[in-house]
């Protein structure tokens, strides 16, 4: 990551904050890096599902980043992907059992997507690009930041889709009974519409910021 090199020279406190903040905003995994689209589109039909999926992914991300970083001198380069996948799959299994123990209804709502956290490219991406090259503490911060950014993005989608598609937020009705919900928003196609609108907003903000800095560059898709 070029950013990790850039911050290397700064004071530690700033670097630590930056490690966290970059995932939340500047390198947001969904809105900027556009990673892990499968759960982003599939489980965000309500705010509570989005929150649960975000937290589950954050849990796996932080723990796998920690273990990968702690073992980075012990794992030869040739078997790193196999080892990372093994570590990630372990924590996904752990989170799967934990969610079943916490609430069966939640487990039913998230369905197959918990197991599919294994193949969320965000997690393998952070293990490969960050945790395998950085210290444990910075990897934890990176995991927390990216996880928070992912949860924030899922909530943006899940909240908007639930309000429009079901007239409620976190299960509480927002509108009078006469409100006719836009059912399409909680169907799969609504996920694409909502994601497109959020990406539009984020790219607009990014372009405006670049214009203010006086160096508008071509946006890479």
């Amino acid at each position: 990551m070029p950013d990790s090199e850039k911050v290397a020279g700064r004071a530690d406190a700033t670097a630590a904050t930056d490690e966290f903040i970059k995932g939340l905003w500047r390198e947001n995994p969904v809105f900027v890096q556009v990673l892990g689209m499968c759960p982003v589109l599939a489980v965000t039909n309500s705010a509570i599902n989005a929150l649960a999926m975000g937290l589950a992914t954050t849990f796996v991300l932080v723990l796998s980043n920690t273990l990968v970083s702690a073992l980075r001198h012990f794992i030869p380069r040739q078997v790193r992907i196999a080892t990372f996948i093994l570590i990630i799959a372990t924590f996904v299994t752990v989170v799967d059992y934990l969610i079943q123990a916490i609430s069966l209804d939640l487990h039913r709502a998230l369905g197959a997507f918990i197991s599919l956290i294994v193949v969320n490219c965000l997690i393998l991406g952070r293990a490969e690009a960050f945790a395998s090259k950085n210290t444990v503490s910075r990897s934890i911060l990176d995991g927390l930041g990216m996880g928070a950014g992912f949860t924030f993005a899922l909530l943006c989608l899940g909240g908007a889709r639930e309000v429009l598609g079901n007239g409620s937020l976190f299960g509480f009705a927002l509108f009078p009974a006469s409100y006719q919900p836009w059912i399409v928003m909680i169907l799969p196609s609504g996920g694409f519409f909502t994601l497109a609108l959020w990406l539009l907003l984020f790219n607009h903000l990014k372009l405006r910021r670049q214009a203010e800095q006086g160096r508008v560059q071509e946006v890479t898709p």
Partner: protein, 233 residues
Amino acid sequence: MNNARQDKVNHPGSWPLYRALVGVGVVCGLLIVSVFVLTGPVIARNEAAALQRAVFQVLPGAIERASFTLGADQRFHGAKEGDATRDQVHAGYDADGRLVGVAIEAQGMGYQDVIRVLYGYAPDRQAIVGMHVLASKETPGLGDKIEKDPAFRANFEALDVTIAANGQSLQRPIEAVKSGAKTLPSQVDGITGATISSKAIASILRNSSARWVPLVYRLRAELEKTGGVDAGQ
């Protein structure tokens, strides 16, 4: 760059590879097994509680439950908690220990995927007295009305499944009709906008009741309080 060190990184030999893969494998294996052992009893308790809630929901008045398995001899035997087979029914008892009815699981194809339901059959009233959707992936806002729509749910408060004179089949099989066209107590009023899903529920109940209702009615004495494993509160 140290050449010897670089060479070691590029050609690590087999021992470090084994060590990494086996070492990580052992640690991960231990972790999964410990979490499984720790959460196993909690998950089993959650599942039993969810089943208990569903059984009491489809059998109004029941406060105790016992499960029975249909044996190869076509008789009911008390089921142990946790052994799940297709041929299992759950008897519900009221405060005086009398049989309120039997909760039966059934499934069938819906609009999107298989729908699993639990319904309550009361032999003394010869009627289905409750229906609960255990799992469905029906379209949100349309097909999922089978779980929420109060008018549709009212169909299953007293759905007639009287046994025919021969004791082997139902007088009138359950059938779905258009919304508002219900004239017989064995008909299910459909939902406008969820025709396929509501018909699917009716056909799931028709198929399942054709098999189970005469059987449970005939063997209802075996389901009274004396038999079965008490799995109450």
